[in-house]
């Protein structure tokens, strides 16, 4: 009895403390549904093609959805696991959607103009030029590799066109000690970390210099020395893997986090939900970076989920979250750096939803004009292109010239072509690698393969 009473008092006390902390306490008595929508409110549009208004690039790191309550009626409290819950005689359902969609953090507008007068200090000239040249390199590599597939030289390819800012700017905000668990549309992180064009080409050709020994389709890169776990085709499986790896970093007191990338489609998989929940409960330093590019092959996000995108799912799991303009390299850079700091210092997961668009077809096996208007693609390819937007900002700062641009482009083009030629000439991996690196459930035959007397042939030994 005494302990019940003291628990009740503790709850009471907590409620008071929380109500004092809030700048504008809500008064449920005057407006019982002040943070709720009337049930007749119109739903939030499911696409994000509108303009995002964000007139400041200041970042708030306050957690969303803290306990909201009035500073009265404190005796109407249910002491319940997870904290005290206010009791109310007003029956109201939480709306399925917020009155407004979660706003999106941006630094540069579509013309590369900073959206506020405050100067953006975080990215200086050297870093900016490095980021830009990596974005250009990624675009050129993608374009030429795509062509190589069209010519039948490699079996498959998939580009990151339109998502260069997410790729490069997020990579730039991390350190090499941060461990990457990628989906497949993030080769820019590897590029940033020093994976050479030759190494990319070797993987796509599956030659003997491919670290994956020719075992996976093109674009399934991986590099141990660059802390980049090998891509798996299976959507979303890497997300809980990143959580377990983050637990290891935490136990080892490393000043690093894991970072896992995935698409909007991937967020429908159970692995995504399980991973967010595990990360929240185990309090591990992991960044969940969702590239919401509007499409999962031919499925638009309106058929993928009915929530306000992905960002709103974070708080439901108790995860601090932010939505960022994925085509704004500076916004991505800034959000990821701050998220990384918080993740490591506070040992907590952070969810970042980057709004972007898959400008390319899903892959070389897809023709996206069959399911989406060409004008939509063109709009994002031109008006919203993250690379030229960033270039405009560089131009404004007087950091980059047309001459440097054309030199960079022709040099990269030459290197990519050379890498392809060299990779194409290189031999295939040894056939012995058919059997290595997997525990031999049925050991390979002692005889050479192909001489017709393999172990699978029934042998009469008795």
């Amino acid at each position: 009895m005494a302990s019940l009473l003291s628990r009740f008092r503790a709850a009471h006390h907590l409620i008071r403390r929380l109500s004092e902390r809030r700048a504008v306490p809500l008064n449920l008595n005057q407006n019982p549904t002040s943070n709720l929508l009337p049930l007749s409110s119109s739903p939030v549009p499911a696409t994000f093609n509108g303009v995002w208004n964000q007139n400041s690039h200041s970042m708030s790191t306050e957690t969303q959805g803290g306990l909201q309550h009035p500073d009265i009626c404190t005796d109407q409290v249910l002491d319940f696991p997870g904290g005290p819950v206010l009791l109310t005689s007003e029956m109201s359902f939480i709306s399925e959607s917020a009155r407004q969609r979660t706003s999106c953090y941006r630094v540069l507008d579509d013309d590369g103009l900073p959206v506020t007068d405050k100067s953006f200090q975080e990215v200086g000239k050297e870093l900016a030029l490095n980021m830009y040249s990596n974005m250009v390199t990624l675009q050129i590599m993608d374009t030429i590799f795509y062509e190589a597939q069209r010519q039948g030289r490699i079996s498959f390819y998939l580009t990151s066109i339109g998502e260069e800012a997410i790729n490069i700017a997020s990579a730039a905000a991390l350190t090499i000690h941060d461990v990457i668990f990628p989906q497949y549309r993030e080769p820019g992180i590897l590029l940033w970390r020093g994976f050479t064009l030759q190494e990319f080409a070797n993987q796509c050709f599956g030659n003997k210099d491919d670290y994956g020994k020719g075992r996976q389709m093109p674009i399934h890169y991986g590099s141990r020395s660059l802390n980049y776990f090998t891509v798996s085709s299976t959507i979303a499986t890497q997300i809980p893997n990143a959580v377990g790896a983050a637990y290891s970093l935490k136990m080892d007191n490393k000043q690093a986090c894991t970072v896992t990338y995935f698409g909007d489609g991937a967020t429908s998989e159970g692995d995504f939900h399980g991973a967010l929940n595990f990360a929240a409960v185990t309090e591990v330093p992991v960044l969940f970076i969702c590239r919401n590019n509007g499409w999962a092959i031919s499925t638009p996000t309106s058929e993928q989920f009915r929530s306000d995108g992905v960002v709103v799912k974070g708080p439901a799991y108790g995860i601090r979250s932010i939505r960022v303009d994925g085509n704004d390299a500076l916004a991505v850079y800034h959000a990821v750096s701050v998220a990384r700091e918080m993740a490591i210092k506070e040992s907590r997961p952070i969810l970042i939803e980057a709004l972007t668009y898959r400008v390319s077809h899903h892959s070389t096996s897809d023709d996206s004009t069959k399911y989406r208007p060409v004008e939509e693609i063109e709009h994002w390819r031109t008006v919203r292109d993250p690379t030229s937007r960033f270039r405009k900002w560089l131009d404004r700062n007087g950091w980059w010239t047309d001459k440097e641009e054309s030199e960079l482009r022709s040099e990269v083009r030459k290197k990519v072509l050379h890498a392809i030629q060299a990779a194409e000439r290189q031999e295939k991996p040894s056939v012995a690698d058919l059997f290595t690196d997997t525990m031999p459930a049925f050991p390979p035959p002692a005889n050479d393969i192909g001489d017709g007397d393999a172990a699978s042939t029934p042998q009469i030994l008795c």
Partner: protein
């Protein structure tokens, strides 16, 4: 990331149970199966600071008491509860193992391993292969109680081992009793490959035997002849061996000499030991609780026919679970019972 290497020096590798017992100088105590598992887990945590145990309800000791006392002894960061999500448990375990840790994941019942099937089959099994050996999750061991328990119905009784035997890159291990469980589990935890370890839950409390108190391991992929005989070879694993042993005793009373083999590791399995036995007896019977169709008995049968066709004196007999969901009130009809085995022994010998 650290790489996992075999820690042979930690525990003696025992090659044969019998030889070990006869040369017994180490103290041992009669304990049941869950206590033997508990001892193995305790040793695993004690001998490697990079080992972790996690799963549903493991912190208070687990619903079968296998992790009892471990969180108190090693701390809640090394022995911890997870949310109720099997794909999360294994997905997390793979990531943890991939960073150079021994990740010991518990799935509360083998019947509930299927949400994690994708992580086990597509990720764990192929992790090393698809990265060209740049990465591996060899430190992962997934433990799960399997099999009949007398009243479990179809969601607390299944034997799903065959699903995992079909996946190159995984090992599948099943112990038959407390002493085996301790030695085999330690081998699994320290083996550099991902392993699924199924524990016969019927025996958690029932099976009691002398178990050495020290750190020892039994080799994987080595079957053990637990009863020698000359007329017919019987192969099984896990809880089924007790039933088979009784059938062997009854057969002996009718003048039939049975050789009984515990396969112990299902993949990669010890074909040589089975083959040598069948060459001697000329007859083979395989028995398991899982449904007969597509069960691992079919694999053993096919392999032995390939190897010993001319030596076989009768068709290979399979005494297995029925091709039905695991029943509740009719469990005794479903099970590959002693009498069914005995009948099959006689039919095979008199073929």
């Amino acid at each position: 990331m650290r790489s996992i290497t075999m820690v042979q020096k930690l525990g003696k590798v025992l090659t044969n149970t019998r030889r070990f017992s006869s040369a017994n100088s180490i103290s041992s105590k009669p304990i049941n199966l869950f206590s033997a598992i508990n001892q193995a887990l305790d040793l695993a945590l004690d001998t490697d600071p990079r080992s972790y145990i996690f799963g549903e309800d493991v912190r208070f000791g687990g619903v079968f008491r296998c992790t009892m006392g471990l969180a108190d002894k090693y701390g809640k960061h090394r022995v911890f509860n997870t949310p109720l999500c099997e794909q999360g448990i294994v997905g997390f375990g793979i990531g943890l193992a991939a960073m150079g840790n021994r990740a010991i994941a518990e799935i509360q019942f083998a019947d509930y391993i299927f949400p994690a099937f994708d992580q086990i089959v597509n990720e764990a099994a192929k992790f090393r292969y698809r990265s060209g050996n740049q990465f591996n999750c060899g430190g992962l061991t997934v433990r799960a109680p399997y099999g009949a328990v007398g009243h479990g119905g179809h969601y607390h009784s299944q034997s799903p081992e065959a699903f995992f035997c079909h996946v190159p890159g995984l090992k599948v291990v099943i112990p038959r009793g407390p002493k085996q469980a301790k030695g085999l589990l330690l081998s699994c935890i320290r083996d550099p490959n991902p392993i699924v370890f199924f524990e016969p839950k019927w025996l958690y409390r029932l099976a009691v035997e002398e178990v050495p108190e020290d750190d020892y391991m039994f080799p994987l992929s080595q079957a053990e002849v637990i009863r020698e005989g000359s007329d017919i070879t019987l192969v099984g694993w896990g809880a089924q061996l007790q039933v088979m042993e009784q059938a062997c005793v009854d057969a002996a009373q009718e003048g039939i000499s049975c050789e009984l083999i515990d396969l112990r590791t299902l993949v990669p399995w010890d074909k040589e030991t089975v083959e040598a036995s069948v060459r001697k007896t000329g007859r083979l019977l395989v028995s398991h609780e899982a449904p007969i169709t597509g069960g691992f008995g079919a694999e053993i049968s096919a392999s032995i026919v390939e190897r010993c066709f001319l030596r076989l004196e009768a068709p290979i007999a399979r005494v297995c679970g029925l091709d039905t969901p695991f029943p509740l009130v009719f469990e005794p009809f479903y099970m590959p019972t002693k009498n069914k085995i005995l009948d099959a022994i006689k039919a095979t010998v008199n073929y």
